[in-house]
């Protein structure tokens, strides 16, 4: 019997070694696998290369991983945001390296890795500082830049629900990088609110088929849902609004 479920987040991130390349899903806080990142911090792996759209905000998740000094390099499109103080400090103190990639090229390079594509030509960033020193080619009169795939040792992803076969569904714009990152890593780890019985997910609605997934862990229902229904009562970071504590349910 195939069973990709693991009992806790510590088991989910076990084996992530120093120097690993780790893809981290999410766009801002939406879809960021905060519980898996916390577990990765506990594992103690250092010198990590992180591939993610952003470089963390506030003091949790990716921001905390950087604050703890575990990250050697960040590959991302938009590291700077109003609350990215941990990245900003580490970058200014030259404690980490930044590879800045336009968001669509980042996505397509990840997709290419997962699809077995050796490289591809993209029109994005032609004529900009990000094209300097890069191979160009004119195809049908248009100039393109050569882009290489981005592979990872591990992908950490957040979904809504999964079964023991590793089939995953997501929720709204929290899907973002999850489906492509799941295809591009040697080991794909997915945290979900709930693990459901095989057969409970509509096959037409499965977004990431289990073939791309190695480990699945349940972390409890997100606070703005109760019994799968949206109840709100939280701010954009998912924290309960003042006086709305009663509507926050079952977070781990």
């Amino acid at each position: 019997m195939i069973d990709k479920t693991v009992p806790d987040v510590a088991s989910a991130v076990a084996g992530i070694a120093d120097g690993a390349t780790v893809m981290v899903g999410g766009f801002g806080r939406a879809g960021q696998p905060v519980e898996l990142i916390d577990a990765l911090i506990d594992v103690g792996a250092r010198e990590l290369t992180i591939v993610s759209n952003n470089a963390g905000g506030g003091d949790v998740g990716l921001a905390r991983l950087i604050a703890e000094g575990r990250v050697r390099k960040v590959v991302c499109s938009f590291p700077r945001q109003s609350d990215s103080w941990h990245f900003d400090t580490a970058y200014r103190e030259a404690r980490l390296e930044l590879e800045l990639v336009p968001q669509g090229n980042l996505a397509e390079r990840i997709r290419a890795a997962g699809a077995g594509i050796g490289a591809f030509y993209s029109p994005t960033a032609v004529g900009t500082p990000l094209a300097e020193g890069r191979e160009q080619r004119v195809i049908d009169g248009r100039t393109y830049l050569l882009e290489y795939p981005i592979h990872a040792d591990v992908a950490l992803i957040s979904g809504l629900a999964a079964d023991r076969l590793g089939n995953v569904v997501y929720r709204r714009t929290a899907r973002n990088f999850g489906p492509i990152m799941a295809t591009a890593a040697r080991t794909t780890v997915v945290q979900v609110d709930e693990i459901v019985e095989v057969g409970a997910l509509d096959p037409e609605a499965v977004v990431t088929p289990g073939i791309f997934v190695n480990r699945v862990v349940a972390v409890g229902e997100r606070p703005w849902l109760r019994d799968s229904e949206f109840v709100g009562g939280v701010d954009l970071a998912g924290a309960p609004l003042a006086g709305a504590g009663a509507s926050a349910g079952g977070a781990s």
Binding site: A30, F78, V126, T173, W224
Partner: protein, 234 residues
């Protein structure tokens, strides 16, 4: 020229708070919204362009794309109804319209690069006469670089409109002969909506489509230092 100006330049709205020679942000957003075709798939950039969403004519069905993975976006929810899983590219809370669709990032940027998106509206630091866009970095040596989807958007949509003040806070023209800031995209901008006038990029020159308020063509020439002519409709 002055005859033509009079003929082609609607005067500013009667908004008592507006300065006589320009449109305010809201009026400009309204003006941009009026030019978006029924049925268009549109991406509104972070900042001022997001205001356009509030002024789309109710009679037209315009589908808003947000590059973090959604078509069919609707404006912000009420407090208490914020869904952290439902945000736009500016990481602000939004809502979904009936008929909305979610997709992953590679599909989302295929919609741009693949030429499926009709229009995107972006902010700018500078736009050049040949339609080059600079809107992601001022090139300051101590700045932390961040590009996001700006370069993909600039070269991806069928039309790229810029919405911006004509002048910087220190009074320099954002319309320039050639950009001095790092480029976002080359030859990609087709039209620029400013607080003083609307410009089309035609054959390596700006052509003035419409003047706002008491602004004259000669004033625009002085403010920009560029050889401007009215758009002749060709």
């Amino acid at each position: 020229m002055s005859d033509q100006q009079t003929a082609t330049a609607p005067r500013a709205s009667d908004d008592r708070h507006a300065q006589p020679d320009r449109l305010d942000r809201t009026a400009l957003a309204k003006r941009v919204a009026a030019d978006i075709s029924n049925g268009a798939y549109v991406n509104l950039g972070i900042g001022a362009p997001t205001l356009v969403a509030d002024h789309l004519p109710p009679s037209s069905e315009v589908i808003l794309h947000t590059e973090n993975g959604m078509l069919g976006m609707d404006p912000a929810p009420a407090e208490g109804e914020v869904d952290p899983d439902l945000i736009n590219a500016g990481k602000q809370p939004v809502t979904e319209l009936p008929g909305a669709a979610y997709f992953h990032h590679a599909d989302s940027f295929a919609m741009m690069r693949g030429g499926h998106l009709d229009l995107c509206i972006l902010g700018a630091f500078q736009v050049s006469e040949s339609g080059d866009l600079a809107n992601w970095s001022t090139g300051a040596p101590d700045a932390i670089p961040a590009v996001g989807g700006a370069m993909d958007l600039a070269i991806g949509a069928k039309d790229v409109y810029v919405m911006t003040d004509l002048l910087t806070k220190t009074g320099e023209s954002k319309l320039v002969a050639s950009c001095t800031y790092p480029l976002t995209g080359v030859g990609c901008v087709t039209r620029v909506y400013t607080d003083r006038a609307v410009f089309d990029v035609v054959g390596g020159r700006f052509r003035v489509r419409e003047l706002f308020g008491s602004t004259t063509l000669d004033e625009l020439r002085e403010l920009t230092g560029l050889e401007l002519e009215m758009f002749d409709g060709a």
